[in-house]
């Protein structure tokens, strides 16, 4: 399918989807905290723009709601929350050393190829002009997962998680013109609550471990004996009065 045979809007959709995929790669290679958060916000913006374009092309007005939800959550609320938290935790200038960046990016490329392979078996069903983008949405999801698994900072893991969620939302927009409204609202509500809880956890993690580096979270495993509880036996002899 030649690109030039598509309408202007369809070409724009493919362009912005490709840019969103590019931001996924940027996040993968970005070790510093602030640019990571901003790149995530850019990705949200690009995906919101694609949703609007799909809404115009397909004349599905309820996709404007999806676009608005994506914009509010992924561009405004979550980046702002993460930004405020990193400032308050004094880690906004932190940088994380990324081990084997070349290998990591090559792994990302392999995931994109894999996504195209997976999407090949299902895109023939879709009569939409945007079917190329199904592969991109799967790739964004998988790259988010890759980001989560290679990073050691809790903030980067949260960004990977949210990026995964963006990819899935995007898949819903481009493959089925969005989920039913009640589901989209429910999912958005869950994500909002999750992002607030993540914020609460950053403080708990720092208070308990002194950092947000997940490598230090190794107290629970089968190999080591669990540490004894602070309360010794005997305290429990206090009787329940009720």
């Amino acid at each position: 399918m030649a690109l030039s045979s598509l309408g202007l809007y369809s070409q724009a959709i493919i362009l912005f989807a490709a840019l969103a995929l590019f931001t996924s790669f940027m996040m993968l290679a970005q070790g510093r905290m602030m640019p990571l958060i901003f790149t995530f916000a850019w990705q949200g913006l690009l995906l919101a723009v694609v949703s609007v374009l799909v809404a115009i092309v397909s004349k599905h007005p309820h996709l404007y709601v999806s676009a608005a939800l994506t914009f509010t959550l992924k561009v405004v609320v979550i980046p702002w929350l993460l930004y405020r938290l990193s400032v308050r935790l004094g880690m906004h200038y932190d940088a994380e050393v990324i081990e084997h960046p070349t290998l990591l990016l090559l792994g990302g490329v392999a995931l994109v190829i894999f996504s195209y392979y997976v999407a090949k078996s299902i895109v023939h069903l879709s009569g939409l002009a945007t079917r190329n983008t199904i592969a991109v949405s799967i790739a964004i999801e998988l790259l988010g997962m890759l980001l989560m698994s290679v990073r050691k900072s809790a903030v980067a893991q949260v960004i990977g998680f949210m990026s995964m969620e963006s990819g899935i939302f995007f898949a819903a927009v481009v493959s089925t013109y969005g989920m039913p409204l009640i589901v989209e609202l429910g999912v958005a509500f869950d994500i909002l609550v999750a992002s607030i809880l993540f914020g609460v956890f950053f403080f708990h993690l720092r208070d308990s471990f002194g950092s947000l580096n997940v490598v230090r979270f190794n107290r629970l495993s089968e190999a080591t004996e669990p540490a004894p509880l602070p309360q010794a036996a005997g305290v429990s002899t206090v009787k329940d009065p009720s």
């Binding site: 078996s121 299902i122 069903l125 879709s126 799967i138 999801e141 997962m145 989560m148 809790a154 893991q157 998680f161 995964m164 969620e165 899935i168 898949a171 819903a172 493959s175 089925t176 013109y177 989920m179 039913p180 009640i182 589901v183 429910g186 999912v187 509500f189 869950d190 609550v193 999750a194 809880l197 609460v200 956890f201 708990h204 993690l205 208070d207 308990s208 471990f209 997940v214 979270f217 190794n218 107290r219 629970l220 089968e222 004996e225 669990p226 540490a227 004894p228 509880l229 602070p230 309360q231 010794a232 036996a233 005997g234 305290v235 429990s236 002899t237 206090v238 009787k239 329940d240 009720s242």
Partner: protein, 490 residues
Amino acid sequence: MTLLEATLLAPLLGGLLLAFIGHRPLGGWVNVAIGVVTFGASLAMALEVFANGPQLSSGRMFYIDAFNVYLVVLTAFVGLTTSIFSRPYMRHEVERGRVTNARLRLYHAMYQCFLFSMLLALSTNNLGVLWVAMEAATLTTVLLVSMYRTPESIEAAWKYFILCGVGIAQALFGTVLIYFAAENKLGGDRDDTLLWTVLHGAAGGNLDSAVISLAFVFLLVGYGTKVGLVPLHNWLPDAHSEGPTPMSAVLSGLLLNVALYALVRIKMLVDASLHTQLAGHLLMGFGLLSFTVAGLFLHHQHDVKRMFSYSSIEHMGLITFGFGIGGPLATFGALLHMTVHSLTKSAIFITVGHACQLAGTQRIDHIRGLIRTQPAIGWGLLLGTVSIAGFPPFGVFISEFLLLMATMKSWPWLTIPLLVGFGVAFAGLFRHMQKMVFGEPPPGQKPVDANMLPVVAHLLLVLLLGLAIPGFLSRWFEQATVLITGASPL
């Protein structure tokens, strides 16, 4: 269907109420009262469904049939008995200083919100809402896992949050794919193609096989993470062992069932569309792997709650295996096993909670002589373990026997790993149990104020199910089996 609305609204409104008064001494009683209302409403609803058949609410938001109605009743029942146990338990924790008033309020509010999200997941007709409710179940419990604010509990909660979050995101992707297949089949201009009744009715058997297979893999990984299937089980022992014990009881007893329920619903769809054994074989594989690996892990545990969490993984594996085999007999056995496992496991966690308060620790090698210090707790733990290990005359024996029979019929050579697995799990439980129950109690160990009523009720029910399944209950299971497999076991 106002009874269903009452079943759902009671925990939701109760949760909101408890968010304000949950820290008062009254809070624990209010928690129990909400449980009574929920259980009463669910029981009345079940009788109605039993008399009149499946019900679809107006607006098609909720759908209740023989399969989910018994899980709704079970969830409401265990929710009630656990709240009875939780009242004195949490009082005790407050007195020990492990829980502040604010956290007690959070605990009570979230307890009811958690029950609400599970009941919503069970009763909804919309696969998307099912996902939202499953995620909500994670969100409501994650702060409870970290309630003691120890480094271990915070690590456990973080692991739970991240792993379940990632897992369940895969399930959302699977749901999108199912929606994609259904829209493709039924036309994109309608808004009801994610409803279970529509998918299973009009679209049944005709969804595109490539998309549905892919969707099932994603959904299996997603909901399988919540069921605790090996190798996606890493979060489960941590989350179940680090939180307050009432939470462990409802997590192990109920949440795993709800996740498995979602998986079986999806399997029904996939089977109708694919006409192959793909879904069944995948479930069998994951189930057997979980069953075997968790049984082995039982042997080197140091923490008593962790040990019983592994036992939960083992039993969920067995149930998944049963649903995977898929014949009427296996499905009947799996449904029965879901019931008896959740009753027995919550009873065990309640007893273990008292035992830990008695000994002041969760470490197995520091819990000694329960039966001499407080016979009720010792006997409760012993009988609970005997029951969960599958001894007659308890109900677990019957369901495991049925599953074994079904395996022997359709996959004879798989009975060997099953039998070995039963033996390994039995040894793993009893090597620890013996010393904890019969050992020499440490000096100065005194009895605690324990409410054994829920334990007695649960174990009596399991015993009853092992001796004679009441007629209405077996008809109920039979209806559910017919619904899932299309054939009757009797």
